[in-house]
């Protein structure tokens, strides 16, 4: 290589003339990069970390700005649309307000199982012919599947005792779908006989004109029979008909608040204790570190639970602050140890010694050398602390020791969703997805930050 340079270049006499004296000789042609600029540059090169960063920013926006865009009240219970998956059918018909059924002037059915009035989601009114051998009365069942050879009749809705008129009104959780009703005769000991009647019934979803106005679906009173569409829920609804998207956004406030503020608080305390210990050394250092050892030894989850019951949650409180405080009390020592270790190692570095020799004050040393040099490590710790704080909240909510309802949190939503995992999976999938994405984003961002901030700690991936 060297030879070819000489061969192609033509040397001129002016090349050997001395340069004019001036500051420009000292100028470095490439722009100088500060520690943070360099870190940022490296982070930008890491695609995974960058995407994670965008996700984190997106989550924060969702939490802070989301509720202003999707203004649905997360506590509003839409009992007409309970546990609805996304994109469920929202059509409904206007019906007269419900009034209790007066059967005194209705003739019971003489032919099979009959529906007395049009079946709606308000009520299904049944009557049936007398079945021989039904001295004990009748039991009414409802199924969502056609009755097969197993003769599984479905939900036992109720009994009509012998001698009572053959009427039954079903109001239990009626959804717009096809139901298979059956009526079984009971013998004198109230045991089921083999005789039964059945009928397939299609239920229509109805709401009253007043409800339509209250829910903002109509301006003024609509006539009975008018069609309309119920409130839209992009991610579906939960077990009380609350909008899942709104709850996820408000739940994000809880989960991210705990997930981000708890680590920030305990890391701050850890920094103060750690730097005091590291800088002061001697007796104070011993004392503080011994105490930190003690606190580290406390079994974390057990103490989170013990603290939770010790602090108690008063009326109307969400229990977020007790959880925050418990986390701070239990988790500061890890950071304190880390910071102390960093400070001790930096203390003996040549440049610090030099600074000291040149007469730098302690304040200057801390501000100029110690903190900036530990900040990278701290930032990385902080990023990794977020997922574990989010998990802790979710875990505590799962065993019922978490945030008090009705305050939503991703953990408690998961807990609720888990119970109906098989039938309405969306109630579990969405909050679980949010937890997973958040945890993942913070983990990858942490990896990226570690690589970018500290060359020594670079993982080789």
């Amino acid at each position: 290589m060297a030879e070819s340079t000489i061969a192609t270049g033509s040397v001129k006499a002016s090349d050997f003339a001395p340069l004019a004296a001036g500051r420009s000789a000292e100028t470095i042609s490439r722009p100088s990069l500060s520690y943070w600029q360099d870190a940022w540059r490296r982070l930008k090169d890491n695609r995974r970390a960058l995407i994670s960063l965008y996700i984190v920013v997106g989550l924060l926006l969702l939490t802070l700005v989301g509720p202003f865009i999707w203004t649905m009240d997360p506590a509003l219970q839409d009992l007409d649309q309970v546990s609805q998956p996304p994109f469920a059918d929202r059509s409904a018909t206007i019906a007269a307000p419900y009034s209790s059924w007066d059967t005194s002037d209705v003739a019971p059915s003489a032919d099979g199982l009959a529906v007395i009035e049009p079946p709606t989601s308000q009520s299904v009114r049944l009557s049936w012919e007398s079945i021989p051998g039904s001295s004990g009365g009748y039991r009414i069942y409802r199924n969502i599947f056609p009755i097969g050879p197993e003769r599984a009749l479905g939900l036992p809705l109720g009994d009509v005792f012998g001698g009572a008129p053959r009427f039954f009104e079903d109001r239990l959780d009626l959804e717009p779908r096809t139901y298979y009703y059956s009526v079984v005769a009971l013998d004198e000991n109230q045991r089921e006989t083999t005789a039964f009647l059945q009928r397939t019934i299609d239920v229509r979803r109805v709401i009253t004109a007043k409800e339509a106005i209250d829910k903002g679906l109509a301006e003024d009173t609509l006539p009975v029979g008018a069609e309309l569409r119920l409130t839209a829920h992009p991610l579906g609804t939960d077990y009380l008909g609350r909008d899942l998207l709104a709850r996820l956004m408000h739940g994000a406030r809880t989960s991210l608040f705990i997930g981000i503020f708890a680590p920030i608080l305990y890391v701050l305390i850890g920094i103060s204790v750690g730097s005091i210990a590291g800088f002061a050394g001697g007796r104070l250092d011993q004392l503080l570190m011994r105490f930190a050892d003690f606190v580290v030894a406390l079994p974390f989850l057990l103490f989170m639970i013990v603290f939770k019951i010790a602090f108690g949650i008063g009326p109307g409180e969400s229990g977020i602050f007790p959880m925050l405080i418990a986390m701070v009390i239990l988790l500061w020592p890890a950071t304190a140890r880390l910071v102390r270790g960093q400070i001790l190692s930096i203390k003996n570095q040549g440049y610090v010694e030099a600074s000291k020799l040149l007469g730098a004050s302690s304040g200057y040393l801390i501000g100029r050398h110690m903190i900036p040099n530990t900040l990278g490590v701290i930032l990385v710790t902080l990023t990794f602390a977020v997922p574990s704080a989010i998990f802790t909240e979710a875990f505590l909510s799962f065993i019922g020791m978490g945030v008090a309802p009705p305050t939503p949190s991703w953990g408690s939503m998961c807990n609720e969703g888990l119970k109906t995992m098989l039938t309405t999976p969306h109630e579990l999938i969405f909050p679980a997805l949010f937890i997973s994405i958040t945890v993942l984003a913070f983990n990858l961002l942490g990896d990226g930050l570690r690589d970018a901030l500290d060359a020594r700690m670079r993982s080789r991936e």
Binding site: F303, N415, A432, E461
Partner: protein
């Protein structure tokens, strides 16, 4: 070595004292009354119950000193809900269950972590690496209770598929009962260890002593086993202490979902019932157990890694 062990044990005893005191203070600030029952009782009965549990004395110093004294003798008192069972008996009966589950979970996690980690490092950026790392990401980012519920569901499906019981769905009593719960329990730790093992393997591949060994002409098997794997495992062992802690105290969920009669589940139930003595006894016992575990892992580490001098 012996002096070091002695010193660590002494520190351990002090730590346990601290745990006991912290538990005592926290529990005595709990609002509510452990003697409360849904039936109101007469004052005479109440006085008797208070005397039975020593609640008629001053909290400090009387109750505290009695509590510490009993603890030194290894006596955690009588349960409030099961009024004729000793907390010691409860721990003796339920801890082995949690410990068995925990040991198996730690083993799964450690072995799995080391093997998968080594595998991904060897197949770096190739299909096995990508697949395993994807699973690892899942393991890290999905909450354990979701895995537990899915695990049980999986078992039901499995048994349904074969038309007979391949593995029991819940309960305790044979090794079949442990497999899936311990796997679920160890999953997140396994994922974490896999990551750790992978990066530590990759770091060591490029280390000077591997280069030297290679240059010396050592057989590759020997290099891998003696130099690469052994050195890569070291950082994994350092985190085993905290991992054991996380696993043994994190067993509640798995025990709740799989109906396993472990101490973790018992603790959650005791908290619901505000059973003071059981809560305090369990917390202190677990605390002491973890302190001991950390000491043991440290000692083992010193044994394995001659660079670490125990002093």
């Amino acid at each position: 070595m012996w002096a070091y062990t002695g010193k660590r044990l002494l520190q351990g005893v002090l730590t346990v004292w601290f745990i006991a005191t912290a538990t005592f203070i926290a529990m005595h600030n709990v609002p509510g009354d452990p003697l409360m029952n849904d039936k109101a009782v007469s004052t005479a009965i109440r006085a008797n119950l208070e005397a039975k549990y020593g609640l008629d004395r001053a909290v400090f110093p009387d109750q505290y000193l009695i509590y510490l004294g009993n603890m030194v003798r290894g006596d955690f008192g009588i349960s409030f809900t099961q009024q004729n069972r000793l907390v010691n008996d409860i721990i003796r009966e339920h801890f082995p269950v949690s410990a068995t589950l925990g040991i198996l979970a730690v083993l799964f996690a450690a072995l799995g972590g080391i093997l998968w980690g080594a595998l991904t490092a060897l197949y770096r950026n190739r299909l096995p690496d990508i697949v395993i790392m994807f699973l690892v990401i899942l393991g890290i980012s999905v909450p354990s209770f979701v895995f537990a519920a899915l695990g049980q569901l999986g078992l039901v499906q499995l048994n349904g598929l074969f038309g007979r019981q391949v593995l029991p769905v819940a309960g305790w009593g044979s090794v079949g009962h442990m497999l899936v719960p311990s796997l679920v329990l160890g999953l997140s730790t396994m994922a974490f260890l896999t990551r750790l093992m992978r990066s530590s393997m990759l770091e060591i591949v490029n280390a000077d002593f591997i280069r030297t060994a290679n240059a010396k002409g050592l057989p590759p098997t020997r290099i891998f086993l003696k130099h690469q794997l052994r050195n890569a495992i070291l950082p994994v062992i350092t985190v085993l202490g905290p991992a054991i802690a996380a696993i043994t105290t994190g067993g509640f969920v798995v025990e709740l979902v799989f109906a396993i009669p472990g101490l973790g589940r018992y603790f959650v139930e005791a908290v619901q019932q505000l059973d003071y003595t059981v809560i305090m006894g369990t917390t202190v016992f677990y605390g002491a157990f973890l302190v001991l575990m950390v000491i043991v892992v440290d000692l083992i580490y010193g044994f394995i890694d001659p660079r670490v001098r125990l002093e």
